[in-house]
Symmetry: C2
Subunit: 316 residues, 2 copies
Amino acid sequence: MTTGLSERFGLSYPIMLAPMGGVSGGALAAAVSNAGGLGMVGGGYGDLQWMKRELELAVAGTQRPWGVGLITWKATREAVDLALSYEPKAFFFSFGDVSPYVDAVKARGCALICQVQDLGGAREAKAIGADFIVAQGAEAGGHGAVRSTLPFVPAVVDAVDPVPVLAAGGVGDGRGLAAALALGACGAVIGTRYCATHEALMHPLAAQRLVEADGDHTQRTRVFDIARGYDWPPAYTGRALRNRFVERWHGREQALAADTAAFEQYRQAQQRADFEQALVWGGEVVDLITGIEPAAALTERIGRDAAERLRQLGAA
Amino acid sequence: MTTGLSERFGLSYPIMLAPMGGVSGGALAAAVSNAGGLGMVGGGYGDLQWMKRELELAVAGTQRPWGVGLITWKATREAVDLALSYEPKAFFFSFGDVSPYVDAVKARGCALICQVQDLGGAREAKAIGADFIVAQGAEAGGHGAVRSTLPFVPAVVDAVDPVPVLAAGGVGDGRGLAAALALGACGAVIGTRYCATHEALMHPLAAQRLVEADGDHTQRTRVFDIARGYDWPPAYTGRALRNRFVERWHGREQALAADTAAFEQYRQAQQRADFEQALVWGGEVVDLITGIEPAAALTERIGRDAAERLRQLGAA
């Protein structure tokens, strides 16, 4: 399965771990890289202490290429420079204006990866010199927007040619990876599925919810960002498992924003790992999660299943 | 490209024309069937006069298998029996309880095809004996719900095994068809892309809008159903091109429902083909529509491109 992605980073499988903030730590990133994918550390909102710890684990855990990601509108020069000091081979930005960081990333010989949610964003990413563009569909877990992966990926491929494109959102097994390649992507970014691995920094009760959930019961919502005090740009919502907190507040965002007691209750629910109230990000792909397993075994299975499926379809 | 769909109907390509109400007439259905796909007449809300005219055109236009579709919650026994009297080989139901029509369809040896929008619907369709289940994603044009095609199709495949599954929503070229097969579907249902064909019953100005539109500018909405007086079940919205009518009323549905003058203005806009006000259904796949062409050429190109793409990926 040789693609522009696998060639650039010497991968066995065209699989990129989504840099899920706080979940994709150094151990998970290293495990994915060691298995032949591209592991990514999820720097999220740019907590420097968390980043140092996890970036050190990535460096210690693998000799193979790995990368790092940040939420662009929350990124700082300090967080970007800290990440670059660990010599990642890929820097993944999503949700905001990447232009302040392009030169620093490129000066290190690090691949610039821009995740986009619409065609306008795709064209901007090409214009600033992205080495790879990730077309993210709304079925993805966590933050995202409104386009769907299947029609969005080929539209981005056509719009940014010849920049290589990855598919994100909805991919959780070999079928999804094979579909991403069929759409013209050079690989797939996989997030939610990796939450149910031994190495993911997930509370066990949250991971178990991902195993049990089905994709009919996820929801794009702002309620968790409001409760947690994150001022996300209005274009982005987050897909989470529907729980009592969502049932109570989704559609009543203004009331929630005015209810400071609810914020405190939310914080306490999070502390006691009460996931009927607290957030579990999850994409529609939760249907395909049947258990918690080592990230290496998962990576290899997805890669091999995709290759085998494409071999069979190509011979038919 | 031999699949369960192509074998059942003797197709050259595992492509089914979506039975788009009022758009997929007998000439379009016959053209798709003659080109090696499965043409479908879109009976829509069950207008008997329209159905008679278009079903006769289908019968006159092709010797190959073709089918018919109805909006289930609006279907009547009379419309179903009328359609069956023309001996379609496939009967496609979507949006509602199909059980009243199962026996009549099966008694004719006609394949029962149920389109579903969530896993619950998929399991119901299997239980009533659907011969094929169509997993429809929210990126589709026209009516639909909330799941996205890429993760939904493999989830339905797993949930209804061994019933064969088709993918609907987001497929408009060979890449999309190849992706559908990679996801485990036995074919793809293609709607919006066929609106931009010579045979589609579309106003030329509406078809031209589909050519010019991009997928960032479609919207799932109820405003056109409200303005046209269709009492759709709340689970379903329709994806349309965003125009001034959508900008004005989307999010203000209650005000629209109370504004009978707006209904009359809408009706007049429709009559004068003012598509800044009047409805043009369209899926996110509009990105991939670059011109209006004969349905046969489109069918053959999609089928051949998908086969070639899968051949290349399988050999890589």
